[in-house]
């Protein structure tokens, strides 16, 4: 670890704190339909959009209609993406003449991008046409993020309102999220990224002449290396390199801002064309956190308790620093099994475990990116989590297991942590023997049941499907690592899928079982968790406000922050510790005992 490394991490956090308030104030205005400085440009577009899509912007919805509209839109747009993948060979903007995506992979990808997961069982630059990337995948980056923001705001309204049946209009919330927040920031960010070297073009892949021709082993038609009579391998000379191109910057910006995380290229933000410089890396990390951090301020502002917004922010900050410190420490220590290798910090190198990492980011920025992308439900990666040290790789895994509530995904993290807030006040209420209240609303049995449903569906999907995969031959067929690390690969996959994160221990390969099972967990992890969440919102909106009494547990104090952090850790640890101890923890112990697999 270096001083500069820590300063970079601290500087990043300070920027996020500074961004939270202006973003929060702006989003409050946007969702309350107040005037903003963007109105002269954006308001006319909004009006036309409502006219074309037959939306009555004055009409509010109950939580049930809000859910139905959300499900219908997600279903229709998912179907369109599936069809686009299946027909891309006949459509324009396909300079590499890519064929249709196979059925089960097309389903997996459609589920993945609709649910804001962006798990990728394909190599983007080898199979997806520019049109599919833009109009299919990047479109869903906008749409799923806008849906998430709409849901978060609907939930906040549920808390803020009193004795009302409705929680807002789904179409209006989504439209305003898109036009006022996502599009303007993406445009500016995309150009900033181009200036750093993120490519943006429609040209076919370039062919370049290698400076030094490459000797490779000749492979016969049977896929085996060709050998001559004396058994020596026959070599081929390669004189050219083909360089993939594409409209990446426009997709890169919304991929981070919408906490989607699906890379244009297979290597995601580790690819020099997606993330060419340390500064582009910084921009991308700020994009990931700016909306979620802003929403905590929106929470405070819309519910009229700014102190509560900051108390929640503080809980998130504690978990953020715990994660990044562990990851940075573990990765800096390097891999003890590599003999004869200099892994210490020196003035000429940052050292540490560099397998799967890029030199321009080094250890500090790789550890920070891995923490940020899983604190939020982003899932973009600037290094391969699969090659992290056991404890370093456990940080992203645990972050997702805790529910991605540290600033969280765009929208998803907000309602995730609010469910934990409801549980925390419930537990505090039990401890002092009073009916629990949250910002003046009584938390009753219906609310807690729904919150528990939300908390239980999550580990159920992860643990059951991971256990099934560990037993099925299909589940073990495509592992890339043996020993406890293999279990970590499976566990990470279902955690990432159910948590709608999308980052991976990417050695795990696709097959029919994983395409279908992962597609299923992603849909359940999104929609089956949103519905109980909206039910709580609808129930809270109807309630009367009870004036605070001496027995009310205050949700604005450090005590509340401590309780909230404890509830999050206890729920997460109780659920997942046994699985973790068989995966990364066991691997850590065996690694230090010198064992390999």
């Amino acid at each position: 670890m270096t001083l500069n490394g820590w300063l970079q991490i601290l500087f990043y956090f300070v920027v996020i704190v500074l961004v939270a308030k202006p973003m929060g104030v702006f989003m409050t205005k946007v969702f309350s339909r107040e005037r903003t400085w963007l109105d002269p440009v954006v308001r006319p577009v909004e009006r036309v959009l409502y006219k074309l899509t037959r939306v009555d912007e004055e009409r509010e919805m109950r939580w049930t209609e809000y859910s139905i509209a959300m499900l219908l839109f997600s279903g229709v747009s998912m179907l369109v993406l599936y069809l686009l993948e299946r027909t891309q060979q006949w459509l324009p903007l396909n300079p590499q003449k890519f064929a249709a995506i196979p059925q089960d992979l097309a389903f997996n990808t459609a589920a993945s991008f609709t649910t804001n997961t962006n798990w990728q069982f394909y190599t983007g630059e080898q199979v997806m046409s520019y049109l599919t990337q833009m109009a299919g995948l990047a479109f869903h980056n906008f749409a799923s993020a806008a849906v998430g923001m709409a849901l978060a705001v609907a939930f906040i309204r549920g808390i803020a309102r009193r004795e009302k049946d409705t929680i807002g209009n789904f179409w209006v919330d989504m439209t305003r999220a898109t036009l006022w927040v996502l599009v303007p920031i993406s445009l500016v960010a995309a150009l900033a990224l181009v200036s750093q070297g993120v490519i943006q073009n429609f040209k076919p892949y370039d062919t370049v002449k290698l400076v030094e021709p490459q000797q490779i082993q000749k492979v016969g038609q049977d896929g085996k290396p060709v050998v001559d009579a004396s058994g020596k391998p026959v070599m081929d000379t390669v004189t050219e390199q083909t360089v993939a191109q594409g409209p990446i910057a426009s997709q890169e910006a919304i991929k981070e801002l919408g906490t989607n995380g699906g890379g244009f290229m297979n290597a995601n933000s580790a690819h020099p064309f997606e993330n060419p410089t340390p500064f582009s890396n910084f921009i991308e990390m700020v994009l990931i956190f700016c909306i979620p951090a802003g929403l905590t301020y929106t929470l405070g502002r819309m519910t009229g308790s700014q102190k509560h917004g900051w108390a929640v922010f503080a809980a998130m900050a504690v978990l953020f620093f715990a994660g990044v410190t562990t990851a940075y420490w573990a990765e800096s220590r390097g891999n003890p099994l590599l003999a004869g290798v200099e892994q210490h910090v020196s003035p000429l190198q940052p050292g540490g475990n560099m397998e799967g990492k890029e030199v321009r980011f080094g250890i500090a920025n790789s550890a920070l990116f891995a923490t940020v992308t899983t604190d939020a439900s982003c899932g973009a990666v600037n290094g391969m989590h699969d090659s992290y040290t056991p404890l370093g790789g456990m940080v992203p895994l645990v972050n997702i297991m805790l529910g991605e509530i540290v600033f969280g995904g765009v929208g998803a993290g907000m309602y995730g942590i609010l469910i934990f807030v409801v549980l925390s006040v419930f537990i505090a209420g039990l401890m002092v023997g009073r009916t629990p209240e949250y910002l003046g609303k009584k938390i009753e049995s219906y609310d807690v049941k729904m919150a528990m449903l939300y908390v239980l569906i999550f580990p159920l999907m992860i643990l059951v499907l991971a256990a099934a995969s560990a037993l099925l031959p299909q589940g073990l067929a495509t592992l890339n690592n043996n020993g406890p690390h293999g279990l970590s690969e499976i566990l990470y996959a279902f955690t990432s899928g159910t948590g709608n994160n999308g980052s991976a221990f990417a050695g795990l390969g696709p097959n029919r079982w994983y395409n279908l099972a992962m597609g299923f967990t992603m849909l359940v992890g999104r929609f089956l968790m949103i519905v109980p969440m909206l039910a709580v919102a609808g129930s809270l909106a109807k309630k009367k406000i009870v004036p605070p009494s001496p027995g009310t547990f205050p949700v604005t104090t450090p005590l509340f922050t401590v309780l909230l952090v404890s509830v999050i850790i206890i729920v997460g640890a109780l659920t997942f510790f046994p699985a973790l101890s068989l995966g990364p923890i066991l691997e850590h112990l065996l690694m230090h005992a010198g064992k390999t697999f």
Binding site: Q8, G197, E355, V359
Partner: protein, 196 residues
């Protein structure tokens, strides 16, 4: 229900045009402010495109600086198939690969510890950079192969070392392709007389 279904369909169509087509096309237009960056920073030498400045190429000759190992594609450095090994820290394949590379490098520069980035595959398989430590490690070999003094090679390396961006972000690095092209321009490989 029916009303919301109709809106869902219309909304998907209209926003796909807006966000999926107009937005990226607009960015392609505006990206012309930086034509070199937007098109992948291709480098031309004697009228021939010889690479992208920020995409690694394979180099194995003793007269060239070598990039990091690559897991992109079957033979490495495949810029249409990016990716890492995804081998965990206890994977036997990782340990074996490192052991082999360490043996080769130690023979070339005995007694010096090997900088970690030189024997680890990057995440993209296309990492264009090595650390200054990894460049320094290779200086003696290149000096010998090109019949230059070590200090002369070192000077070229120092001139092409990028510090932290704005003096703060990321880590210091040396671009391998750029460095090799500079060496070639000073002394073309074909004039070295096959020094080995």
């Amino acid at each position: 229900m029916k009303k919301n279904l109709i809106t869902s369909i219309l909304y998907t169509v209209v926003t796909t045009i807006l966000l999926g087509l107009i937005y990226p096309v607009l960015v392609v237009g505006l990206a012309r402010i930086w034509p070199n960056q937007a098109n992948g920073q291709l480098i031309t030498r004697n009228g021939v495109v010889v690479g992208s400045r920020i995409i690694a190429q394979p180099f194995v000759g003793p007269q060239y600086f070598h990039p990091r190992p690559s897991a992109a594609g079957t033979n490495g450095y495949d810029a249409t198939n990016s990716g890492g090994t995804n081998w965990g820290p206890t994977n036997q394949k990782l340990i074996d690969r490192v052991k082999g590379d360490v043996a080769t490098l130690q023979a070339e520069n005995p007694g010096k510890p090997i900088p970690v980035d030189l024997i680890t595959a990057s995440g993209s398989g296309l990492d264009p950079d090595i650390t200054p430590a990894a460049a320094e490690f290779q200086v003696p070999r290149i000096a010998k192969a090109r019949a230059m003094t070590e200090d002369a090679v070192r000077k070229v390396v120092q001139e092409h070392t990028q510090g932290r961006q704005f003096g703060f972000f990321g880590e210091a690095r040396v671009n391998v392709l750029e460095l090799n092209l500079v060496l070639d321009s000073q002394l073309p490989t074909k004039n070295i007389g096959q020094a080995k």
